[in-house]
C-alpha cells in the first residue's frame, strides 16, 4: 500500500532558480540561504520517495485570467520546465506517474474536490525551484530527478483564493487517496509558496518575520488555528503574495495532526521574499 512518508515546505522565488542555474549559490548574498538548504536535502535523500506531489501555484505560465482553476492536478507522463519570460530553466524533464495521478483524481472528485485535470502542463518556478532545493545537488544542480512527480496547483493569482481550511481539507483528501492506492509507493508531499512577501504596489517589499515565525510554530503545534486565517488576514500579515502560505496547509493536511519538525530554516530575504523551509514527519 502507498504511504505519505513526509511533508516538506519551502518558499519559492525565481531568483533562487537563477542563482542555482548560473552557479552563484556561494556568493555572499546567497550562501546563507543555500547552506540552510543542505540538511533538508539530506533528509529528502534518505527518504527516497517514489513519487513527489508538489502543491504549488502557477504564476501565469499555464494559467491566464481567461480561465483560472481553483485546484488543478497533473496527469501527464512528463512535465517540462516552462518559459516564464526568461526562457525555460536548464533542468531535466520531470517524469510523471499517470496511474497515481488518475487514482488521485478519482478519489479527490469522489471526496467532492472539484479538480481541473491537466494532461498537458509545463511547470514554473513555483514547482521547479522547490524541486531543485530538495532534490538538487549541493548547489541545486541536478542530472536526473530521482523521483516521479505529480503537480497540484492552487489558485493564488486571482481572488477569491480557496480558503485556508479548504486547502487543509484538500491535503486530508490527498492523504486518504494515497492511503487507498494499492501499489507500494512512497510519496513525499511538498507545499510551496510564501513566506511573507508582497511584490505588487507601493507596499512591495513588505515582510513580517514575526508572522512567519508564528506560522512556522503553529505548523507543528496548532495547524487548525492556521486554517482559520482568512485570506485577507494573510494579505495583511504576510503581504498580497504571502497568501501563498495556503499551499503549506495542503501539505500539512496530508500529515497526522501530530507531527515532528525534523528541520527548519528561516532566512530574510531572498529577493523580496522571506524564505522559510521546514521538514515534517508523522508522530
Amino acid at each position: 500500500m502507498a504511504e505519505i512518508i513526509a511533508a516538506v515546505t519551502t518558499s519559492h522565488v525565481p531568483s533562487i532558480g537563477i542563482a542555482m542555474d548560473t552557479g552563484i549559490t556561494q556568493d555572499p548574498y546567497w550562501k546563507p540561504l543555500f547552506d540552510g538548504y543542505l540538511p533538508a536535502k539530506e533528509f529528502v535523500k534518505k527518504l527516497k520517495p517514489d513519487v513527489t506531489i508538489v502543491v504549488y501555484n502557477d504564476h501565469g505560465l499555464e494559467v491566464f485570467l481567461d480561465r483560472v482553476p481553483t485546484f488543478g492536478i497533473g496527469a501527464a507522463a512528463q512535465y517540462l520546465s516552462g518559459d516564464e519570460g526568461w526562457g525555460p530553466r536548464p533542468i531535466p524533464p520531470f517524469q510523471g506517474d499517470p496511474d497515481l495521478s488518475w487514482h488521485l483524481i478519482e478519489h479527490l472528485v469522489a471526496q467532492e474536490f472539484d479538480m481541473t485535470m491537466f494532461q498537458e502542463m509545463s511547470v514554473d518556478h513555483g514547482f521547479t525551484v522547490p524541486m531543485s532545493v530538495f532534490f538538487g545537488g549541493p548547489a541545486g544542480e541536478v542530472e536526473e530527478w530521482p523521483t516521479r512527480v505529480i503537480p497540484i496547483t492552487v489558485n493564488t493569482i486571482q481572488f477569491p483564493l480557496p480558503m485556508a481550511a479548504r486547502c487543509f481539507k484538500l491535503g486530508q483528501a490527498i492523504r486518504k487517496a494515497v492511503d487507498a492506492y494499492p501499489k507500494d509507493t512512497r510519496v513525499l508531499i511538498v507545499g510551496t509558496g510564501g513566506m511573507s512577501h508582497q511584490l505588487q504596489g507601493e507596499r512591495s517589499g513588505f515582510m513580517q518575520p514575526n508572522f512567519d515565525r508564528m506560522f512556522l510554530d503553529k505548523m507543528v503545534t496548532d495547524p487548525m488555528a492556521l486554517t482559520k486565517i482568512p485570506n485577507g488576514v494573510f494579505m495583511k500579515e504576510a503581504g498580497h503574495e504571502g497568501a501563498e502560505l495556503i499551499m503549506w496547509l495542503v501539505a500539512r493536511g496530508a500529515m497526522n495532526l501530530e507531527v515532528e519538525e525534523v528541520y527548519q530554516h528561516y532566512h530574510v530575504s531572498a529577493s523580496l521574499t522571506a524564505a522559510g523551509l521546514a521538514c515534517y514527519r508523522n508522530k
Binding site: 486571482q158 504596489g201 512591495s204 485570506n231 488576514v233 494579505m235
Partner: protein, 136 residues
C-alpha cells in the same frame, strides 16, 4: 419562497465573512487586491504581458513595442505605461504583478528593481529596506 434548502443561518455569515475579508484586503495601503473587479480592469495589458512567455512574441514585441501593444488592444494610457516601463503605473491600472513581471523579465530587470520603482526608491534604498527585516 426565500428560505433555502439547508439551514438559513449560514447565509449571512458567509456574506459577512466575504465582505469583511474584502474590506480588510482593500484597506491595505499600497495594495491592489486582485479580485474580479481588478481582473476586468486592464485585461488587455495582462494578456499582452502573458503572451511574452513565447520567444517569437518577445521578438515581435522588441521589433515594435507600440504596434505589439495595439495588437492586444491596449489603451493609449496603458501603452505609454508599457513603453516607459512604469511598473507602479501598470499595477495601478489593473496589471497583475505575475503578468507584468514577464515584461520586466524579457529585459532582465529584476523584481528588486520593480519593487524599488514601485516604492519610488533607488535600488540601494530598497535593498536596505529589505535587509532591515533581518533585525526583526
Amino acid at each position: 419562497m426565500s428560505s433555502s434548502n439547508e439551514e438559513n443561518g449560514s447565509t449571512p455569515s458567509i456574506t459577512e465573512r466575504i465582505e469583511e475579508d474584502k474590506r480588510l484586503a482593500r484597506s491595505l495601503e499600497g495594495t491592489y487586491l486582485f479580485d474580479g473587479l481588478r481582473s476586468q480592469k486592464n485585461y488587455p495589458l495582462n494578456k499582452m504581458c502573458m503572451s511574452l512567455t513565447k520567444p517569437e512574441n518577445r521578438e515581435a514585441f522588441a521589433a515594435d513595442e507600440a504596434a505589439y501593444c495595439d495588437r492586444f488592444g491596449l489603451s493609449e494610457e496603458s501603452k505609454k505605461l508599457v513603453l516607459e516601463r512604469d511598473w507602479i503605473g501598470m499595477i495601478r491600472s489593473g496589471g497583475n504583478i505575475y503578468y507584468v513581471f514577464k515584461l520586466a523579465s524579457i529585459n532582465h530587470v529584476s523584481m528588486q528593481h520593480v519593487g524599488a520603482q514601485q516604492n519610488s526608491m533607488t535600488l540601494e534604498e530598497f535593498r536596505a529596506k529589505l535587509n532591515a527585516h533581518r533585525d526583526q
